[in-house]
Symmetry: C2
Subunit: 514 residues, 2 copies
């Protein structure tokens, strides 16, 4: 008997595994970034891939679903308390303090916080790349790719160390810094507003001046915060999975390895829990307002909470408010507080009329998905920018958290519900969102699997990566052509002068002779 059959079966099994089931290593992430990434990972598992998630010893979000994914835990020499305290400090700064500071104070405080953030990030990173056992384990596991949200740095270094393709998924980087400088994404400042610039794609002259200066200024700030080498390594990423689309973002130039999957986590509404459904149904024709300031903001000052509650009490809708603080005194009978709400299912409910949101990208996309107009109370990070996008597209109004009064909130809610143009705009964005060749989730999964099948996606990589910045902008060519032109001009002038002189000389000689 020959060993062939068993060898063949083994071979088939091996081929079967590499063809259908890949091994995806997932970089640690946190908060809304994790919420956004999970549906993609779940789909990958459904499709027979093995998903292994790197989880730091201190993690706020990445703790559940132990059964679905493999988890690879690593040590971070930092306590969860210290980390959460830092996060609270950061949030407090951006929500409450920033509005009352001058630019220099903001810059100085921001840089201080960023420095601590880098220190912490390095501690996280050390847990992976400085641990020999961890690296050996990861190398031995033969992953097909590393999937990462670059907000937690070091995935590029790790992918490089493991020699596997890097696949990035991000909402944005400050001033599109990583996309522009590392991935060569073109961003003409004349019609591509820098992230956090609070500008749209329609800019006046002075706004264009501001935007033009905003890019390099942020580049300088970010230069201090990211490792210089990181940019080249990050530039090796095969695919940049952007969590936006043209329902949300302003149209702009992009590259073949940029894929837009905004709303990758959205899904049809499921039935509500019985008590919530009863409260929702009690709203009658007026419908409901869904209100959440996101998962990071837990408490408000008593004053703020009362002001908000009194604003909510004045609208005819029933309000579902996700709020974990103490019950405000001015809370109306139309408002109910919840520790947690099934936000997506509420927004997809036929009775949903409006969404009051801090403007986190995930929530905004759920509202787009279900076509619900928004009242934005943006707090920090990309939230002001996100709400600006929705406002520019006619699907939202915004109120300022620190300046708003009860009436402002009430008027904002009434405006977006009574003025039908907001609902129409929201529905238009919803149609754009749904009417695309492939759902965001399917597209994300397709390109992840593509990267595993082809061990990267080098055919989508522009040659610009091999050019210096002055070569990219043809400045060397321009200098050369200018030099040639000046040389020719000089030659021409010299020749003319020479001829002219000879002429004059001759005349003079003639005259003298005469």
């Amino acid at each position: 008997t020959t060993p062939c059959p068993s060898v063949c079966i083994l071979l088939l099994l091996c081929l079967g595994r590499s063809a259908n089931g890949g091994k995806v290593l997932v970089w640690y992430t946190e908060g809304s970034h994790w919420i956004n990434m999970k549906p993609v990972l779940e789909t990958l598992v459904d499709r027979g891939h093995q998903v292994t998630v790197l989880v730091p010893s201190i993690s706020m979000f990445m703790t559940s679903d132990q059964s679905l994914f493999h988890y690879e835990a690593f040590n971070v020499s930092l306590s969860l308390e210290v980390f959460e305290a830092f996060l609270d400090k950061f949030i407090h700064f951006t929500i409450y303090e920033m509005d009352y500071m001058n630019y220099f104070q903001i810059y100085s405080k921001f840089m201080d916080l960023l420095k601590i953030n880098i220190q912490f990030s390095l501690k996280f990173l050390d847990g992976v790349v400085k641990s020999e056992t961890m690296l050996k384990k990861l190398k031995g596991d033969n992953y097909d790719m590393l999937l990462a949200d670059p907000i937690f740095p070091g995935s590029d270094l790790t992918a490089d160390m493991l020699g596997i393709p890097l696949f990035l998924s991000l909402r944005f980087s400050v001033a599109h810094n990583w996309e522009r400088l590392c991935a060569q994404l073109p961003a003409p400042p004349s019609f591509v507003p820098a992230v956090l610039s609070k500008l749209t794609d329609k800019m006046t002259f002075s706004e264009r001046v501001f935007n033009f200066l905003f890019y390099p200024l942020q580049d300088i700030v970010m230069e201090k915060c990211i490792w210089k080498d990181a940019c080249e390594m990050m530039g090796n990423a095969d695919i940049w999975l952007m969590r936006t689309y043209w329902d949300f973002d302003f149209p702009r130039p992009f590259l073949p390895n940029f894929k837009f999957v905004g709303g990758v986590h959205c899904r049809p509404a499921k039935p509500l829990p019985k008590d919530i459904e009863e409260f929702v149904q009690s709203s009658g024709d007026a419908g409901i307002v869904v209100f959440s300031l996101g998962s990071l903001v837990k408490n408000l000052t008593t004053e703020k909470a009362n002001m908000i509650a009194s604003g909510l009490a004045q609208v005819p809708q029933k309000v579902l408010w996700r709020y974990r603080g103490e019950k405000p005194e001015s809370l109306g009978s139309n408002t109910k507080l919840y520790d947690w709400i099934p936000q997506n299912d509420l927004l997809g409910h036929p009775k949903a009329r409006a969404f009051i949101t801090h403007g986190g990208a995930n929530g905004v996309y759920e509202a787009i998905y279900h076509g619900i107009p928004m009242v934005g109370i943006p707090l920090f990070a990309d939230q002001p920018d996100n709400m600006l996008h929705m406002k520019a597209k006619g699907a939202a109004v915004t109120v300022k958290f620190n300046q708003m009064k009860s009436e402002d909130l009430r008027d904002a809610i009434n405006t977006i519900i009574r003025d039908k143009s907001y609902k129409e705009s929201a529905m238009r964005l919803s149609r754009i969102h749904h009417d695309r060749p492939m759902s965001p989730l399917d597209e994300a999964v397709f390109w992840i699997e593509f990267t595993m099948r082809h061990k990267g996606a080098k055919h989508l990589r522009v040659q610009a990566h091999e050019l210096t910045w002055y070569q990219y902008h043809s400045l060397d060519v321009l200098s050369f052509l200018l030099s040639v032109f000046l040389l020719l001009l000089l030659l021409l002038v010299k020749t003319c002068r020479f001829c002219f002189r000879r002429c004059c000389c001759r005349r003079k000689t003639k005259r003298k002779a005469e």
Copy 2:
């Protein structure tokens, strides 16, 4: 009885029509452009849309399949003989004469031919836009969109006159002129080679200088050939359906309303006619070589035909040569001449080893689709560029039509068959071609239907359209900032000089006093 039921049915029928069956008006086109467009139109008909094709009274290709599409004939005050004679003259110039001319002669002859081409194009266009009955008819028919290959000009004007969305499908325009200047497609000359420049995306310094100059030079030439206003109107196009993809083209920046559907006409091979199949099978393990110089080249000189035939006679494969001229004396027993060959089915046959082609985009894409390496004998238009792409990607070698000898052709065929790297590269391109989220045909149909459903695709349109060229490149912002900088510098210098003088004066006064 109420009239409701019948009204309801009528309403449902109307809704049904506008939701499922749209009315597509197709601009007249010719040759390979028509071959490429037909499969898309057939799919549209299959999906319940009504397709009406504008057909000039003189047409070489658009005559068949009267049953599938509606045809709207219009008069052209030009005879088919004159038109075909012009075409032959143009082809003869580019294939036989150009190689023996200097640049000035080429430019002068080319401009002469272009001028005639414009005159003819205008005669075609007049048949539509200057015919009142035709315009009235078209307006009355209430089309949902106009689908056009802009190589035959005037579709933008017509769409504007009819007030319907314009949907363009093209392989390229000279120096990406229309895409760049009308559609705002970014094309940094440092890594995006101009079409017809015979450059790849990897350029040396001198090549970058050439490319940098090639864009504006071609812009100037084209400025003479297209109507100035046309650019703005062409810029109104909702979608630009480009007949390339990253299996064929070099990765480059693009815009949200650019969709890449190269190979839209490709399909799996069908069984061959019996006689051809028998000849193919007689090739044994050596396999077959498929040879065609395209539909426009009908005859070669006797000398040329003999030289080619003798080259083909020296390879071990069986050769199927699509050739309508007289049978060359040196024709080997391994070669058979055909008036017409089922090219796609032959390239998809397991015995296909190589494809000898003039490098037309349609044929090249069929070779990519089936993963067949190519010998290119490029003749004119985009053919040299197409073959350069395939050569750069390792799937082809090229020979020069005017300089080649029998041995060159024989060696080229032997090289791409014996050196396995060519087959591997062709297979790699084939994998890239097939492994995409949606087939090119499905994607083309999706965006056509999208344009009808949403009456355009304005959400994909960049704001760059509203900027002048100097605003686009932020030159006004730069000038302003430079002025401010110089003003400040001047102020600083003046202030310093003033202070310095005061200091000096004081000292002088002091000294004098001393």
